[in-house]
Symmetry: C2
Subunit: 394 residues, 2 copies
């Protein structure tokens, strides 16, 4: 019997009606003969509501207790979804992250999955039950309840697919698959039928919100086929699967991340860049992009991290006797696809399409190219690239 992992996000289970609709979808797959493990997020807004309750009590709630609090969210949605399946005559059982054997490190609020035991899941599948698993949560070696941070439920689902040897992992969201650009910005944006892990990782890391890079990374490592679908309609979605099965003669899509800021230093000593990055890393601040030239060193951080990053950066710059600039009015526009590098002329087309704006920083990776443009120009730049790179037409 084929084993499927399905994951439903917060908007997919946002109301009791939506939970009923999701249950009907699961019941149909179950009756069609699949064994099913279903990962759910908390109902839309639940997590935010719990965080705001916590902040009314403590301006900076202790991370262990915040994890204890937030995991109530998936507990509610998973129990309700299980009840909805029972109502449809499908035998279902819900398990917390701890009961599912999702073992993590001890980093509260941002735990990493170390292993998946899954004994109780296997037993219940053997008994013919649909298993509902709380996403976003696990248990540490110290027996503490942990949460996985951003992208946690996607990661739970893909990790379960890898551990249980599932045929594929279906990620249900509110859009039908991955698109060549954000359809709210580019009306001509099209669904991409298939992508490599690397391309998906590049899109996800560059601002496409449909799937979190962490989960793509896990999927890539274990070569789990990931299918991105919408729970609000029937659609074909986007399949993410190993590279060799996909022709890659053209650019895949454009992603945009307007929530970044650039820190830029001039004339550093030889260990300067390493020290700047170490300072940010020690504080748990991720750098989204690093560009290094002969006379400057720049990196991008999430705008939400800028205030903390700036303090660390400025202290290091003073020690190094250098100067620096901060640019808080920029956005990263990324063209994704192996074609960016495998096809001559694509990089030139990209720069030509952006010629009317100042593009001070450019970074490339194996599956794409990122250009930093003024934030106000981000949407226009995305549309211009989408058209110029031939994505407007099938």
């Amino acid at each position: 019997m084929e084993l499927l992992i399905q994951k439903y996000g917060g908007t997919s289970v946002g109301t009791t009606d939506r939970i009923g609709a999701v249950a009907a979808r699961i019941a149909a797959a179950h009756r069609a003969g699949s064994a099913l493990v279903v990962v759910v997020s908390a109902m839309a807004d639940t997590t935010d509501d719990l965080v705001s309750l916590a902040r009314r009590i403590h301006p900076d709630p202790p991370a262990r207790e915040l994890d204890m609090l937030l995991t109530a969210g998936e507990r509610i949605s998973m129990a309700l979804l299980s009840m909805a399946l029972h109502h449809l005559g499908v035998d279902a059982v819900s398990f917390t992250g701890s009961q599912s054997g999702i073992l993590t490190d001890n980093q509260h609020a941002d735990a990493k999955i170390l292993a998946v035991r899954g004994d109780r899941i296997r037993e219940s599948l053997q008994a013919g039950r649909v298993v509902i698993v709380a996403g976003f949560q696990g248990v540490s070696s110290r027996r503490e309840i942990t949460t996985l941070g951003r992208g946690g439920s996607d990661t739970t689902a893909v990790a379960l697919a890898a551990a249980l040897g599932a045929a594929r992992c279906e990620i249900y969201t509110d859009v039908d698959g991955v698109h060549s650009a954000d359809p709210r910005v580019v009306p001509q944006a099209r669904r991409i039928p298939a992508l490599s892990y690397q391309e998906m990782l590049e899109l996800a890391a560059s601002g496409a919100r449909v799937l979190h890079p962490r989960s793509v990374d896990v999927g890539w490592r274990f070569e789990v086929p990931i299918h991105v679908l919408t729970s609000f309609a029937d659609g074909k979605g986007t399949v993410i699967r190993p590279m060799e099965t996909i022709e890659s003669s053209r650019v895949r899509g454009i992603a945009c991340d307007p929530e970044i800021a650039i820190l830029c230093a001039a004339t550093l000593p030889s260990d300067g860049a390493a020290r700047l990055l170490a300072g940010l890393g020690d504080a748990g601040i991720r750098t989204l992009l690093v560009v290094c030239g002969a006379s400057e060193f720049a990196c991008a951080v999430a705008r939400g991290d800028l205030a903390r990053a700036q303090v660390i950066w400025d202290a290091e710059i003073a020690t190094l006797g250098s100067r620096s600039e901060t640019h808080d009015d920029v956005a990263a526009v990324t063209v994704v696809g192996h074609a960016v590098h495998s096809h001559p002329g694509v990089t030139a087309q990209i720069l030509s399409a952006l010629s009317e704006w100042p593009v001070r920083w450019i970074a490339t990776s194996a599956a794409g190219m990122t250009c930093i443009v003024p934030r106000a120009a981000a949407d226009d730049a995305t549309r211009r690239l989408h058209s110029r790179l031939g994505l407007d037409t099938p």
Copy 2:
């Protein structure tokens, strides 16, 4: 160091402000030198809200999943209370029923506590932490999450006090202790400073809502001193402790339960009463009172159980070839105190005080006497008894 168990009910932690007030109370006791284990219920209305969510999805939710759902309630309140203590500079840690080692049987929605392990609680107390424990919940030998049913959080608290060898168990509620009658019915009702377990059990079983009979029963078995207090003010409350320390020359109080109905059978064969009670018992219906005379057999059930009880009762009555009557317009008024039996004339005073109403059924126990009166007369009967038995004056 003295170990105290404190239990705060749903109204005591009903809002973030209330949680802050409770934290201040706990912090004061902690700073005064007590080791503290604090049991919390779900915030007021949370459990009802979750049940109504469940019923929108399934008219009769599977018990296992309903327990999974409802235990989210205490998870939220305990994490918030722990955060509030951290905010006051008190090191606190919250544990679920499962983490606390509250081991129960497998009866979902109405589980009984079989044992309390408490290893993690002891370790945390050793480390000087205040321990917050989710009331109302435990884990079964099948590793399933269970809830304890009515009175569950009180029972958690008293069971923990017994298992951990606490000096006493403080039950915080919204009234300052146990009163000689419901103050909303009898304005002259007074706080009772001290009660025996048996008297408290009788009051609790007879409609006094301040403490659940289950928890009194556990306290009695292990002789845990129980102190009933309000979290909304400072007061002396009521102490429940072993019999020998309390003089019992007078009646303690009047309890009233208006939510009962009487099933009454005539002319039964010799095994008839046993068969009727077995039928109700097998369906999980509790009988609150059993009265047996030469020509009739009557028992009281909760009005909420009447519809189910009637079906079982009528079928058995038909098999037995008997006749029966149902009385759904009655209330049970109970006079509690060892004096009812130890002091001659008290029973006569009781019947005399009730002489203007038809009292068809009377039952006595070691600590009291229950009279069934018309429901419309229940409040007047309570006031008449309170005055006649000398409870109006200290």
